[in-house]
């Protein structure tokens, strides 16, 4: 089986020659990427550069035009539905807004994958749920409804749900958006701690440079449908490439222009609609 033969491979996710187009716009034009096993890998890039789309392609939620995406040696692109679901049971994903099921309380949200995929006795389900809630510091919030949680708490609950099936790969989609500094620090620490204590691999998609470089082992910078920089965060931050420098240091103008393409100002100002 492909999975067994490649389980020693250094990369848990391998992307080769990825082409993807959405709404007539080219999102990826031949992207090659490796996500090392056991590491926290960051995918950074400006808004709209296709970071979330990349996650959708890795998890089989979208299909590329061309190219290959492998998870643990298994090609994701051609997988039939049943095999795709089997593969997803080995992944945990944290969505940008948590995506908790709004009709279930915190406890039932975390128990959801266990109840769907296993026939564990209720005592064991309870033990597993409380263990995961303890890991994210929210054991006391087990009976709250999602509407009663703050943004940071919702994301921690979603994280507990993502790890309840003991996945091999944890995927975070913009985990820091809209968090206050305290919640942000908590989520940052959790990403690192869970990666190291659970022995999983992590992919974090974000455009929060300072936060993500503090926690990642290596990072990839996406821009214009291509990878423009890869390596340890310090190395990428020290890059002299114009577009990389602009992004990493948050410069308002540079290769990515401040202005959206527009006709000449004088011409447009003279027009009366």
């Amino acid at each position: 089986m492909a999975t067994d033969s490649s389980s020693d491979s250094a990369a848990i996710v391998r992307v080769r020659g990825l082409h993807y187009r959405a709404g007539g716009r080219e999102i990826f034009a031949g992207v090659d990427l490796d996500f090392p096993r056991g590491a926290v890998t960051a995918v950074m890039g400006p808004s709209g550069c296709g970071k979330t789309t990349l996650l959708r392609l890795i998890t089989g939620q979208a299909r590329p035009e061309r190219g290959s995406v492998e998870f643990d040696g298994q090609e994701v692109v051609a997988l039939p539905r049943a095999a795709l679901y089997r593969m997803r049971r080995r992944m945990g994903m944290l969505f940008q807004n948590g995506a908790l099921l709004t009709d279930l309380d915190v406890y039932e949200n975390i128990a959801f994958p266990l109840r769907e995929h296993t026939r564990l006795p209720e005592r064991l389900v309870r033990h597993l749920v409380l263990t995961k809630l303890q890991a994210v510091g929210l054991r006391g919030a087990a009976r709250l409804m999602p509407a009663e949680l703050s943004g940071g708490m919702a994301r921690r609950v979603a994280l507990a749900r993502a790890i309840v099936m003991d996945p091999e790969l944890l995927i975070y989609d913009e985990p820091f958006v809209g968090l206050d500094p305290v919640s942000l620090g908590v989520v940052l620490r959790l990403i690192r701690r869970l990666n190291d204590t659970l022995g999983v691999s992590s992919i974090v998609v974000s455009h929060d440079v300072r936060e993500i470089t503090a926690v990642a082992d290596c990072c990839h910078l996406l821009s214009g449908g291509r990878i423009v920089a890869s390596g340890p965060p310090a190395e990428v931050a020290a890059s002299t490439r114009g577009d990389v420098r602009q992004f990493m240091h948050g410069l308002p103008d540079g290769p990515v222009p401040f202005h959206y393409p527009a006709p000449d100002y004088a011409d447009q100002a003279g027009q009366v609609r």
Binding site: Q96, A99, E116, H117
Partner: protein, 257 residues
């Protein structure tokens, strides 16, 4: 000009046929999933509560008023022919065969249908379906199916309650207010209403239950993941359900008469 009109007409026709095809495919998928979904009956019961029990007040109130109006109008009409004792029969046949299934279905589309569509639409907009998919769970099987079956089961029950309360309303006006003989009211009804009349109403309410629930879950599940998309799904649910119910009512009546 004429060519453009014909082109538009053909385009609209193609779009309508396409939509009908998508509905049929989704309906077939739900039909295939039904036996498996019935095995997790607890999930279905929860949805019978959400769509059925929570619609009880509106159904009972409407049933009472429709029955009372039927009592008044029926009495007025039958009195002209000197046969006001047949009020019970007229009210029962009108309610069982026509008014209960149709009005219940229209009210169901407005109350439970919109609730279903907006709930599913919001789940789509807040990535809950994507999260469920990522947990290797099929959202149609786990989320859509119980809601669909809950609606299908609720509708005949609600229609039966509508009929019961409606008959009480007709009796209240006809017997208590207009002075129709109580014994005549009930005995004529029992004598004239046949098993087939009751079954016609039951069959209609089951068909309407399938139609309204299918429209609601289809529109909600396929809504655009935006506030506007959810709003549009809710509106389409009411419009498509109502027109479908009236169209199906005519077809079923024509077949069963």
């Amino acid at each position: 000009m004429a060519a453009a009109m014909i082109r538009d007409l053909i385009g609209s026709l193609q779009a309508a046929l396409g939509a009908l095809g998508r509905y049929a495919l989704f309906g077939a998928r739900l039909a295939i999933e039904t036996p498996r979904a019935l095995l997790r009956f607890r999930l279905v019961v929860e949805q019978v509560y959400n769509t059925g029990a929570l619609s009880l007040v509106i159904i009972m109130l409407s049933g009472l008023f429709v029955g009372m109006v039927l009592g008044l109008q029926g009495f007025d009409l039958l009195e002209r022919f000197g046969s006001e004792e047949s009020l019970g029969t007229a009210a029962a046949l009108g309610l069982l065969k026509e008014l209960s299934p149709v009005i219940t279905a229209l009210l169901f589309a407005g109350r439970a249908g919109t609730a279903l569509a907006s709930e599913l639409g919001l789940m789509r907009a807040t990535d809950q379906f994507a999260a469920i998919e990522m947990m290797a769970v099929d959202p149609v099987r786990r989320i859509v199916m119980p809601r669909f079956l809950g609606g299908v089961i609720s509708m005949p029950l609600l229609a039966a309650i509508f009929s019961m309360i409606g008959l009480y309303g007709a009796q209240l006006v006809g017997v208590q207010l207009m002075g129709v003989d109580q014994g005549q009211f009930w005995s004529q009804m029992r004598g004239a209403v046949e098993h087939g009349d009751v079954m016609e109403g039951v069959l209609k309410s089951v068909v309407f239950g399938i139609a309204c629930s299918l429209v609601a879950v289809y529109e909600g599940y396929h809504s655009l993941p935006t506030a506007e998309g959810v709003g549009r799904a809710t509106t389409r649910t009411v419009v498509i359900s109502s027109v479908s119910v009236l169209l199906l009512d005519y077809m079923l009546t024509a077949v069963m008469l």
